[in-house]
Structure formats: C-alpha cells, structure tokens
Assembly symmetry: C2
Homo-oligomer: 328 residues x 2
C-alpha cells in the first residue's frame, strides 16, 4: 500500500493505492503549496488529505511510503514539517517530486514526452526517461508566464482601463469586469466613465496583483468580442511558443496539457483560438488532465519498484476517477 | 511675494517669488507626494522646502499665498496636514494644483497645448485655456503606463529572464541586470545560467514591483543591442500613442515633455529611437522641462491675478535656474 498526494496551490488530493492499482481511499483538502499558502497550512492540508485517504486503516495494511507531487521549491523547513505530519500517520518514508511529473504521468505512463500547464501561471517541460529534462516558464506573474491566467487577466484589465480612458477600443469586457469587481458606476455616460475608471483602478491596486488571473475566464466568456479575441490569440501563440521552447527534435511522445486556462479555456474554445499543439505533438496524442494525482500514484508505484505499464496505468486512472467522483 | 512648490515623488522644490518674477529663495527636500511617501512625510517635505525657500523673511515681505503642484489625489487628510504645516510659516492660503499644469507651464506660458510625462509612470494631457482638458494614462505600473520607466524596466527584466531561460534572444542586458541586482553567478555556463535565473527571480520578487523602473536606464545604455532596441522602439511608439490620445484637431500649441525617460532617455537617444512628437506638435515647439517648479510659479502668479506674458515667463525661468543651480 502506498500514499500518493497531489499538492496544488488551491487544493490537495491524496489516494491510497496498492501495486495492482486498486485504490482504497481518497482525501481532499485545501491548498498544499507552501509558497502559495505558507509552510504550516500547506503541511497541514497534505496531512489532512492523507488522513482522509487512509481512513481507519491499521496494522498490515498501513502504507510506509508517501509521494507528494508539488510545484516550487522544496525547502528543508517544509520537508521537515510535512515529514513530521505524515510520520504521525505511520508513514515512515516521504518523497517530494515535481508537480510537472505528476501532471505528465496523469496523462500517460510513457517515459518520454512533453507537459504544458497554464493555470494562474504557465510552464512547459520536456520529460525524458521519466525525468524532467528541460523546464521553461513558471517564473511567476511579474517575470513571464505569457499566456497564463494572470497574463490574460492582466491584459483584460488593461484593455478595460484603456477603453474607459478613451485610448482603447470599446469592448464588452468592460461591463463584465466592472460587474466582477462590484463597481456600479455607469460607464455609458462621460462622467460615469471617469468614475468607473477611478473605482476600477482603486479596486485593482487594493488586491494582490496575481488575483488579476480571476478576470481571465471573462475573455473566454466573450471570445467573439474583438478585444477579447485578440488577447486570447496572443495567449494561444505564447503558449505554443512556450511548448516549442522545450521541444527537442529527437524526442517525440505525447503532449500532456493541464491547468484551467488550457483545459477549461483554450481546449473548449473555437478551433482558431486553440493553442496550436498539433505541429509540436507531431502525430502523438494531446492529452488533457485535470490534476496530477494519477501521476503521483504512477510515481509512487515506480518508486517502490513497480512496473507501470498501459493496463496498470488505465486501472489506476479508472480507480482514482471512481473514488474522486463519488467523494465529490 | 508668493510661494510656489513642485512636490514630486522623489523630491520637492520650493521658490519664493514676487509679481515681477524675481526669486528670493529656493528650497529642496525629499519626496512630497503623499501617495508615494505617506501623508505625514510628504507634508513635512513640503514644509521643509518652503522653510528653506523663505529663509529668515519677516514682516511685510511675508508671502500669504502658496501653490503646490502635485500628482495624484488631493485627499482632505493630506490637505489638512499641509495647510497646518504651512500655516506655521505664516502662509494663510494654500492651493493644490495638478502637477501636469506645473510641468506644462514650466515649458510655456501658453494657455493651450500638450504635456507628455514619462518617468516611472507615463501620462499625457491636453491643456486648454490654462486648464486640464483631457488626461490619458497615469494609471500606475499594473494598469497601463506603456512606455514608462516601469514598463521599460519590466520589459528588460522579462527579456533577461527569457534569455537565461533559453526562450529569448541573447542580450547584453543580461550582464547589466545581474550586476545591477548584485547577482554574481556566471551565466556563461549552463549551470551558471540556471543559478543566475534562480537568483534573478528571487531578487525581483523580493523588491516592490515598481522598482523594476530602475532597470530602464540600462536599455538606453545599450541601445544598440537588438533586444534593448526593440524594447525602446515599442516604448517610443507607446508614448507617441499616448500623446495622440489627447490630441484634439482644433487645438495646436507646444508639446511640453518631462520625466527622466523622455528628457534624459528618449530625447538623448538616436533619432530613430525618439518618440515621434513632430507630427503631433504640428509645427509648434517640443519643449523639454526638468521639473514643474517654474510652472508652479506661473500658476501662483496667475492665481494672484498677475498676467504672465512671455517676458515675465522667461524672467521666472531664468531666476529659478539661477537659484536652483547655485543651491545645488
């Protein structure tokens, strides 16, 4: 028996599985990324999800090895806290792996291929021999992540400001953004436009910059609007560039895509707005995944010496889908 | 006798003048903008500059009216503090005017024309009949200000990150940025590149985002570098757009330009990198100014009922230049 955990910025998932891919328990908790939520709360979220997944297991069924797939730096302080928390549950060995590997293996048991993730941030990876061979992007909202949720939301906010300021094109995004931020001024009038602009500027600076990512879904909502469309086309091109940057001519393999911008946004958008993944995938499948839990399970079984082939991979995926759906 | 103050984000200047444009004292202090430095320190800086300008004046020479040219919102709390501080110096009437009018009238006594300012932020104004008729831009680093110091510095940082990440072109900006941020890793090696990137990302997120504006001068320093050149061309085009946005076909007049990016950067750059102001100025002069103090003096004399014609304007300017140079 093994414990696999996918610790994300907004939620954490854990599953208890055996070497045959049977799942015995599933748990869910809040954000488990120490950079996003702090070391203490992140370790506690992981502990809580693990507890739920393990239920009232005792004795010989007790897992010894836990694997946590997570983004960002794995500091000694965080490692200590999470190891301590899981030791209290009887887990004597804890391994931390990159979330990019968890995402990739949530889509495929292949050892070579690519992952492209665009949620609040954006990052691409080349996986070779089951390891991260090259990673590009993922530098956060201020330093990159073109095509990410922050990037799109930021562009939406700037477009609305420019429009209210009389410097940019009119866009239906204006009404949506003002409504989303709870601004009641009527920009239909000249004075209302100035007032809406003043309130919008205040509202944006009063929030953490990265929360502009919350405006990204509005662009998808009105993708026929010229301004929204231009933003999404730019984002799509930026994400294609990001994936190209990790492409190696000698390495084929599937392209696993994850993150709300890609999975719920781009892949659900009209074809001309979608990221051009086909030339990069070069005949291999493009596989969307919703999170990294299946991959974390693949990683923990491999870490324990197991051989995760196609049938076992599909079993794991089916089991986790069953448990996570019934617990939702 | 009147007191004119130009209260900027990083420094404050004050001058004591009479209706004939003769200047009797000059004072300088730290940042006097309440948004940038806080209400208390800003009011104190203005008070200190005023004190220095007034020297040991007593009796009939005592000015009654003070005018402060300043950016941003003039809140009741700030007004109260600054009025109190200046009342202590015998100034019974205090008027707050927009810094854009101070900048404009530092370049011309004309009542119609345009101002374009690009320092950390960027803003353009149309002045009609001595009043602000239209203002575009000035929404701060997160929401606009294309072509501003922040915007250029941000582009520089992103270009260096992309280059170190192997996603962007190589640029001499990389060495300059790493040196400026005190990062010693040698990006000449592959491992050094990753380490420099890691340190750069940490350094940028550890500072206030707006401080990226400090990287803008690096782009001007190496304007022959292809990456730097592309950033400056984009900035130049954005500033031209900003000025176009306030242009009215029926209003000619000079274009007064201020702020370090325009005055020390663009106007000192090779012709092809300069902001295309000529088509907008339409035969009228383009006038660079270093700050808004001359304009604050023009505004206070006009407020007192004076007629500031060309000869008086030139007198004021010469007097302030004389005093500020000798006190520097």
């Amino acid at each position: 028996m093994f414990l696999a955990v996918d610790a994300g910025g907004t939620s954490t998932r854990a599953v208890l599985i055996d070497t045959l891919g049977r799942a015995y328990g599933y748990g869910r908790a809040g954000g488990g990324n120490p950079t996003a939520t702090g070391i203490g709360p992140a370790a506690e979220a992981i502990g809580y999800a693990a507890e739920r997944a393990m239920g009232d297991l005792t004795g010989s069924g007790q897992p010894a090895l836990a694997l946590i797939a997570m983004a960002g730096e794995k500091t000694a302080a965080f490692r200590e806290q999470v190891v301590g928390r899981l030791a209290g549950l009887g887990l004597s060995e804890v391994v931390l792996d990159p979330d990019l590997l968890g995402m990739f293996h949530s889509g495929t048991p292949a050892r070579d291929g690519y992952a492209l993730i665009a949620g609040t941030g954006a990052v691409a990876a080349r996986i070779r021999g089951g390891r991260l061979d090259r990673v590009v992007g993922g530098k956060g909202w201020l330093l990159g992540d073109a095509g990410s949720g922050f990037w799109i939301g930021h562009a939406v906010a700037r477009a609305v400001v420019a429009s209210l300021d009389g410097q940019g094109q009119r866009t239906v995004l204006t009404g949506l953004v003002l409504e989303k931020l709870g601004i009641e001024a009527d920009p239909g009038t000249l004075a209302g436009r100035a007032e809406a602009l003043r309130q919008l500027v205040s509202a944006v600076y009063a929030r953490p910059p990265v929360s502009l990512a919350e405006l990204a879904p509005l662009a998808f909502e009105v993708h026929d609007d010229r301004v929204a469309r231009a933003i999404l086309l730019d984002a799509s091109a930026a994400l294609a560039d990001l994936l190209s940057a990790v492409r190696a001519p000698d390495l084929a393999g599937p392209v696993v895509v994850g993150g709300s911008i890609l999975v719920r946004g781009m892949l659900a958008a009209p074809a001309d707005l979608q990221v051009e993944l086909v030339p990069i995938a070069a005949g291999h499948p493009v596989i969307p995944v919703s999170d990294g839990l299946v991959g974390a399970a693949v990683l923990v079984l491999r870490r324990a010496g197991g051989n995760v082939d196609d049938p076992l991979f599909h079993r794991i995926r089916a089991e986790i889908t069953r448990l996570s759906t019934s617990s939702a």
